[in-house]
């Protein structure tokens, strides 16, 4: 399943780091964090999608505590 989320990330370098971190999560097929459009596109396993999103948020918080992913 592929889904798009709005994000709030302040620095381009952080966005790149988040992308790398999320890509390493298990169950994530494809991820792209677009700093310019402030959009996160995740393609991940259907059954575990919510769980994966939680880990993805944790990844982003770890890179930059001020970042936000808007789940809705």
């Amino acid at each position: 399943m592929k889904k798009k989320f709005k994000v709030d990330v302040d620095c381009a370098n952080c966005a790149a780091k988040m992308e790398t971190a999320i890509a390493k999560l298990e169950g994530v097929n494809e991820v792209s964090m677009n700093f310019m459009t402030q959009k996160l596109t995740i393609d991940a396993d259907d059954e575990r999608f919510d769980e994966i999103m939680q880990s993805a948020i944790a990844c982003c918080k770890k890179v930059d505590a001020d970042s936000t992913i808007y789940l809705s």
Partner: protein
């Protein structure tokens, strides 16, 4: 400016004022007389006002195991400055850093806004007609086959066909073309355009997710994921650069004092040099400005109605030296018109009859010539309602063959078609077909596409169909040459003569005519092999039947593709309308973007390199280091913003 930015600006101004006052006070003897601790506290006040968030962030990130974070580097560098007694420098570094950040945020926000504005083609609602009632619904809830109503001034929400109403559509947001497009019942309308004049009733053809608007947005949003070589280089570079410089900084702070010995003052001097390294170690200038440059380039291309699918293609198009054109629909208008119907004398078949026969046989073909014949037959021969092509009113001999079904018609690649039913066979095609079938025919020497028609063994006559060269073709080719294209080639399945005529009118250097569809790929591969290394080849087609070639070329450019899925899929660059001039424009945009990106890389690395060397030698101070970090970043971002502006 956002609230966040305004708050930061206030902090910067407050700190700046306090800091300036302190610097002035420092010149007085009274200040010197103050104990060091008091001086420290005085400078600590502006430092904390400007830097508290950086320190807090650095602290949080360390807890998360993120050491090489720019906040952390700034914190260490300024702490280091305090440690060696450079209070003013510590405040200045933080102040400059924050000012730079503010500039950066502002510049990025600005370019983000202008891109969002450019992409402001999303329809908000559709007026769905159901049982005679209109209701406003989300375009995503409308299904193909539904009827929608578009009022004047509203955006077309979905792709469809006009059922009723005549109007003008403003396509500027999609194509950059300012002349409105006229639509009538039967015409297709494309989502994203604005209805100019009258109410239109439209039957929806595609669900929202397949509509032109949705596809364009997806293309632009995903453009970032296809990175140019330079971009990948910067990403990799950034990954190593920061840790390497940081380790050098640690080495600089620790090793020389240990080797050289000496007390606190020696250590302090080296610590200062280490701090300079730390400040310069952030790769932000590159990490932000390079993608921003590409984004701006892609954005300014989309403003003129050119979709570039990724920065890698913008990079490739900047190196294009060979442009290969498909003829039909690219160099020419692709609007074939029947110019002449010439029945063979003595064959006993009239003009009308010949045209009707041809139209019947070509009923299933998607060749442009077939469409022209069908169009002419519809316009010229009134509908009689009689079935079959034998219903001759002229009293000519019976050419009766029942109406063809799709399976009766066979295409002969590169020659034409043959349609058989009721024991008769109709042959329609070029000379090659006539010769292959051993049919006696009268060759026509006029320019254009000639369709020879024979029934069984009897030659009936020919229909001459011609296409017009685009008015802009010659100018566009000249503009491409000015933009650095050194070789232009035209490929066509048409005859040598027609091809030569068109090519010379357009100023195209080379022609390869009478090619079968499959030959085009082979021809392009040959051209690819011939070009110099580092140069790129672009293929320009209208997306009909040339998807394999579009894919094979370094840069596949599809034009006039509003609504053509196959072309958008196969091409790397999509021209929303069919204006050839835009090819030169996109080459120029590519060049400009690459130049900006390279300027930024050379400038940023150059300044950082110089400051690192001077810093290691003890010849640079912290002010210069701050410039090499945020100053360079701001300048690079400002430079990148130029890519957004179309020239």
């Amino acid at each position: 400016m956002t609230r966040k930015e305004k708050k930061k600006l206030t902090r910067i101004l407050a700190t700046g004022a306090i800091f300036a006052a302190l610097l002035m006070m420092r010149r007085t003897a009274a200040f010197d007389a103050l104990p060091r601790a008091v001086q420290f506290v005085l400078f600590l006040i502006p430092y904390l006002i400007i830097g508290y968030d950086v320190i807090a962030k650095a602290g949080r990130n360390i807890r998360n195991g993120n050491v090489f974070d720019e906040n952390f580097l700034m914190m260490i560098a300024t702490f280091g400055a305090f440690a060696i007694g450079e209070y003013a420098e510590a405040v200045a570094v933080m102040l400059f850093y924050q000012t730079g950040e503010l500039f950066q945020d502002y510049a990025v926000g600005k370019s983000r806004a202008s891109i969002a504005e450019m992409m402001n083609i999303v329809p908000e609602y559709a007026n769905l007609e159901k049982d005679g009632n209109l209701s406003q619904v989300d375009p995503e809830d409308v299904r193909p086959g539904d009827i929608i109503v578009i009022r004047a001034g509203e955006r077309v929400p979905l792709d469809g066909t006009v059922l009723a109403g005549e109007s003008f559509l403003d396509t500027a947001a999609l194509t950059g073309e300012s002349v409105p497009r006229r639509v009538r019942p039967g015409d297709d309308v494309i989502s994203g355009c604005i209805n100019g004049a009258n109410v239109l009733r439209v039957e929806v053809k595609k669900p929202y997710e397949d509509s032109t608007v949705a596809r364009i947005l997806e293309l632009v949003e995903n453009a970032g994921s296809r990175k140019a070589r330079v971009e990948n280089f910067i990403t990799r570079f950034a990954r190593y650069y920061t840790p390497v410089v940081t380790f050098f900084a640690i080495g600089l702070a620790v090793i020389p004092p240990l080797v050289l010995g000496g007390g606190w003052s020696v250590f302090a001097a080296w610590l200062k040099r280490a701090c300079i390294f730390l400040i310069v170690s952030c790769p932000c200038a590159l990490v932000i400005s390079v993608p921003l440059g590409f984004f701006g380039g892609i954005g300014s291309a989309s403003r003129i109605g050119v979709l570039v699918k990724g920065s890698n293609f913008l990079e490739a198009v900047s190196q294009v030296r060979t442009v290969v054109f498909d003829k039909t629909g690219t160099v020419t208008k692709g609007q074939f018109r029947v110019r002449e119907i010439v029945p063979e004398k003595g064959a006993g078949c009239g003009e009308e009859e010949l045209l009707r026969l041809a139209a019947e046989a070509e009923a299933f073909s998607n060749h442009p010539a077939a469409a022209a014949i069908r169009e002419a037959a519809e316009a010229g021969v009134p509908e009689t309602g009689t079935a079959g092509i034998g219903a001759s009113k002229t009293g000519a001999p019976e050419f009766g063959t029942p109406k063809f079904a799709a399976e009766d018609v066979r295409e002969i690649a590169g020659q034409g078609i043959c349609a058989g039913a009721g024991g008769h066979t109709l042959w329609l095609g070029n000379r090659k077909l006539m010769e292959a079938q051993n049919i006696q025919y009268t060759p026509c020497a006029e320019a254009g596409t000639i369709v020879y028609i024979a029934k069984d063994r009897t030659y009936l006559g020919h229909i001459r169909i011609d296409d017009e060269i685009k008015e802009t073709a010659a100018d566009a080719v000249a503009a491409m040459k000015r933009a650095g294209v050194s070789r232009t080639v035209m490929l066509t399945g048409d005859t040598e003569k027609t091809a030569q005529r068109i090519a010379s009118a357009a100023g195209i250097d080379e022609v390869h005519a009478e090619l079968l569809p499959g030959d085009k790929v082979a021809r392009v591969e040959k051209l690819l092999a011939e070009k110099a290394q580092g140069d790129k080849l672009a293929f320009v087609g209208d997306g009909i039947n040339d998807a394999p070639v579009l894919t094979r070329a370094d840069v596949g450019i599809a034009m006039g593709s509003l609504g053509s899925d196959a072309a958008i899929e196969a091409a790397d660059i999509v021209l929303m309308d069919d204006d050839l001039n835009k090819i030169a424009s996109v080459i120029r945009i590519g060049r400009k973007t690459m130049r900006i990106v390279k300027e930024n890389i050379v400038f940023a690395l150059g300044v950082k390199g110089i400051v690192l060397v001077l810093g290691a030698l003890g010849a640079a101070n912290m002010w210069e280091a701050v410039f090499a970090d945020v100053g360079v970043a701001v300048l690079a971002v400002l430079n990148s913003m130029r890519a957004l502006r179309a020239d």
